[in-house]
Subunit: 360 residues, 2 copies
DNA sequence: TTGAAAGCGATACCAG
DNA sequence: CTGGTATCGCTTTCAA
């Protein structure tokens, strides 16, 4: 096994392809201006000239220097994402990665790059400032907002284009966001359990500093209220989006004197823990206890979570990333425009199966 | 599903705190040169002046423009990572993300940023070229090399600093890499099964275009050879690092007339599938069939993979990312230096328990 | 120890 | 349609 390195007649004086606009224009006996215009597709340039220029550019392997371009244009053609270390764990990752993959593709299509800042949690705010103040990026994305998220206030003050994936209740100033209708999704999920006859329904939620978690709780409570069922605080827990947390939370709730006959889980990893808790209590899912989950249907979980619903969620996160990127690029290109926002409905929740009701 | 779009009006003033070096130096009645030198810690500047400068910079919230800085210095102070979409799935993600988190922190500590290019698989090579030719980054990282990886040949030709996580057998020209000793780890794992008395041992490997997979197979075969056990091709499979692939591969092997009494799995996700296959065949892990896995001990897997070993693997990937980043920054700073490489031993494999031997 | 001036490599305005 | 020239904001010789 060996490598064949291909040599062609390309002689390298300096670094290969390191000629710049001036040298190229000298070769062509044209001004830098004209060459630049020809390459950038300006309409006023003669088509014959343009052809000559593009061919020469190709022949000499001319590559415009991005550093010079960004200085001259005042735009870095890049978008910043800040990732605090603590979010860099567990399945949350998947959501993060899928979102970024969706966004990254859109950036690439528009000639933008993605600049990542991975920081310790304490440095998160400063990372946004660094991005903005030094002109390192043209815009930024905010993921996973909390209630009253300080990042949003900061970014508004910095006056840099940004789009939030999610919303932060408590912030009055308008800003661009894209969110899924958490309230409605969880209300519908809870409602479907109520329709099966359940009246004692547990909620294992994410950390309720997170805005989405608050909205999910509100949806859960709204469904109970509509059905005239009093909310019992003993049946609800909030904590990390992790399997262990789902487990311990569900155990606590199941240990209650009057345990629930059904659970609403705020994520697939939480549902995994809930499932383990239920099984360890000698109960059977879909018979003794029903579980419904925002991301997915727990009944498929043994198969490593590769269910159609899970795939749907992942691709919808991917789509959200792409859409946020598009919104951001629009904002970058038309700085004056009022922020536009979108609320998506979580269609994939609809088909989740929960097993029979409590009296089946 | 419908979308609600909200419109509001925002007023934009000038960016706050956008004064530049010239204005700052004017305020100070000093030259730009001196101010620049003072801020960048050059020794020749008077300490009194420096103090005056830094205080003014603080007062006026001066932030040097990175775009100008990179043009003037010729360094972008950023490192490129290219992520092809196909690798953006499943648990591979975790390895990717952990690695990048480790690297990203190191970059941040050294004032570098990380530039990501998420591309469709076909565009991967060009993404590296784009990074290098246009001076967008000072160096790049290569993850998951295949045998004879074309990216490495390309990067060598582009003459840009880079570090490979893993190695590509077949490439003669020296380059910097950091790898884990796959051969030795899998050989030890196989050996431990042999020590338990197994003589028919299956191997469910990753895709054998990947260099690490080739090395793992070699390690497996070496252990068999040492024990005088003939290798039976019917007992080995290679494919995606995924649960479904582990499942189908294990099923095929188990359907063999003379099925194995033990498996070596090349990753934790594959092991998950192998486990499912074994259970569906009515066999018991650790009793009828032993399984050992590169990343982890399968006996813990029901608990969503959150085992000490798994954590150890994740943190070792994190460390690898950090180390690669460090190696790369060194290469960037001393361009002439010969490439240095590191081979790490996979210590965490040693303690994996596999259950009793075949005759227990 | 400080400053004037020449880059860095593009873009973009204003003439012609 | 094409060209001269200022500009972007900082770094870095070279002189003083």
């Amino acid at each position: 096994m060996h490598v064949r390195i291909e040599h062609t007649i390309t002689l390298c004086y300096q670094q290969a392809g390191t000629l710049n606009l001036r040298e190229l224009s000298k070769q062509l006996k044209l001004s830098q201006t004209t060459v630049s215009r020809a390459l950038n597709g300006y309409p006023e340039v003669n088509e014959a000239t343009r052809k000559r220029v593009t061919e020469a550019a190709e022949k000499y392997q001319y590559r415009p220097n991005v550093r010079a371009q960004t200085l001259a244009t005042g735009k870095s053609k890049s978008v910043g994402h800040v990732i605090p270390l603590s979010k860099q764990s567990e399945l949350v990752n998947m959501v993060f990665s899928d979102f970024m993959a969706g966004a990254g593709l859109v950036y690439a299509e528009h000639g933008y790059t993605m600049t990542l800042s991975i920081v310790r949690d304490d440095d998160e705010l400063d990372a946004y400032s660094a991005f903005a103040e030094r002109g390192a990026v043209d815009g930024v994305i905010v993921q996973g907002p909390t209630c009253d998220d300080p990042r949003i206030a900061r970014l508004l003050r910095l006056n840099i284009p940004f789009v939030v994936h999610g919303r932060a209740s408590g912030i009055e100033t308008p800003y661009a966001w894209l969110d899924v209708n958490n309230h409605r999704a969880i209300k519908a999920a809870t409602q479907s359990l109520i329709d099966l006859g359940h009246r004692r329904i547990g909620l294992i939620n994410g950390r309720e500093q997170m805005d989405f978690a608050l909205r999910r709780r509100a949806g859960y409570e709204a469904a109970l209220a509509d059905a005239g069922i009093p909310a019992d605080p003993a049946l609800t827990r909030s904590g990390d989006m992790s399997e262990p947390n789902g487990y311990t939370a569900a155990c606590e709730v199941l240990a209650y004197q009057n345990p629930p006959t059904a659970f609403v889980a705020s994520s697939i990893v939480i549902a995994l823990g809930v499932k383990r808790a239920i099984e360890e209590h000698g109960l059977t899912i879909g018979k003794d206890v029903s579980v419904i989950c925002f991301d997915d249907d727990i009944s498929y979980l043994p198969n490593a979570g590769r269910t159609p619903q899970f795939t749907a969620m992942r691709s919808s996160v991917h789509a959200a990333g792409a859409r946020c990127a598009t919104l951001l690029l629009e904002r970058i290109k038309t700085p004056g425009a009022p922020p536009s926002s979108e609320l998506w409905e979580a269609e994939f929740v609809q088909g989740a199966s929960t097993g029979p009701g409590p009296h089946a």
